[in-house]
Subunit: 191 residues, 2 copies
Amino acid sequence: MGFWKSLFSGSDTTPSSKPTAVEGYIAEDENSLPTEAPRDPSLSSSAARSRSSSRIFFSTDRDIDLYELEELCDAVGWSRRPLRKVKKAIQHSFLVVTMWEQRGVQRRLIGFARATSDHAFNATLWDVVVHPDFQGKGFGKALMKHVIKKLRSEDISNITLFADPQVVNFYQNLGFMADPEGIKGMFWYPD
Amino acid sequence: MGFWKSLFSGSDTTPSSKPTAVEGYIAEDENSLPTEAPRDPSLSSSAARSRSSSRIFFSTDRDIDLYELEELCDAVGWSRRPLRKVKKAIQHSFLVVTMWEQRGVQRRLIGFARATSDHAFNATLWDVVVHPDFQGKGFGKALMKHVIKKLRSEDISNITLFADPQVVNFYQNLGFMADPEGIKGMFWYPD
């Protein structure tokens, strides 16, 4: 993330476009209803038992504990951002999706994504993040499929994002195209 | 624009990201106040007299005649979009900037740009267009400088856009970077 740090040195200007690599497969989500988490054969038997008793669900509720979100972003190594600005960004996003693991009455925030939009043609994804404990198991793919479904249901046809090099393949597998017809993603850099 | 046409075949889904090539220089704008248009030595003497009596100004007023905007977009060859969706997109954009030529009491829409944003960190530019009569004379640069200044005044630090290949240089000259640190602009493409 050296580019971002050098480009925006102020603490207020830490960027929000930092997709996190996730791959694999999860059962189709059920519109924010609880769904069985996929078994992971690499887990120990006790961990597998524990994991199998948890559920994963999605929400578009924006009443998010900002400290919990910050903890999630800390876990993937993002620079901290002022919570008042994070709150403002969430308020003014077109779509906010959170992904949760539920065990009994306990809920844990394990994924997040949001999109800005003109409500008509375009949406742009920002802050796509999955907790490292849940990466590589299909949760990121499930999160993104949920986001795409929500945007499509709002008649948004042009879904865009800016992907770090290491997650370009992840997004390509979801149907995103890099630089279609030579169209370039560009970032403003002050003189 | 073949990519767009093939990617989004429905009339409702014509894309809105079509920057138009403009280069050159114009005197600094004065916050939407009338400003003398630059003389163009290539104009005939009568045309130069006529042009010299016109003024260029910028506005952020969203009460735009949609048919006039459609005429501007027609002039650069963009596919038509449903005006109800254009209206909605303008309503839900964070910033809308129009560029006008004024001659006496007559005003002519000669440029347009808008940005979506989370009001905190990021803005993304869409529909940057300058009428062909005014391309190559610095008007596009002036429009973009006005847009950047407005976004910066709102504390937006990360200004992004998706540029067609033929306008990448134009935006680079304004301080935009293509694919910084390998970050890729990506577009969702349905399976």
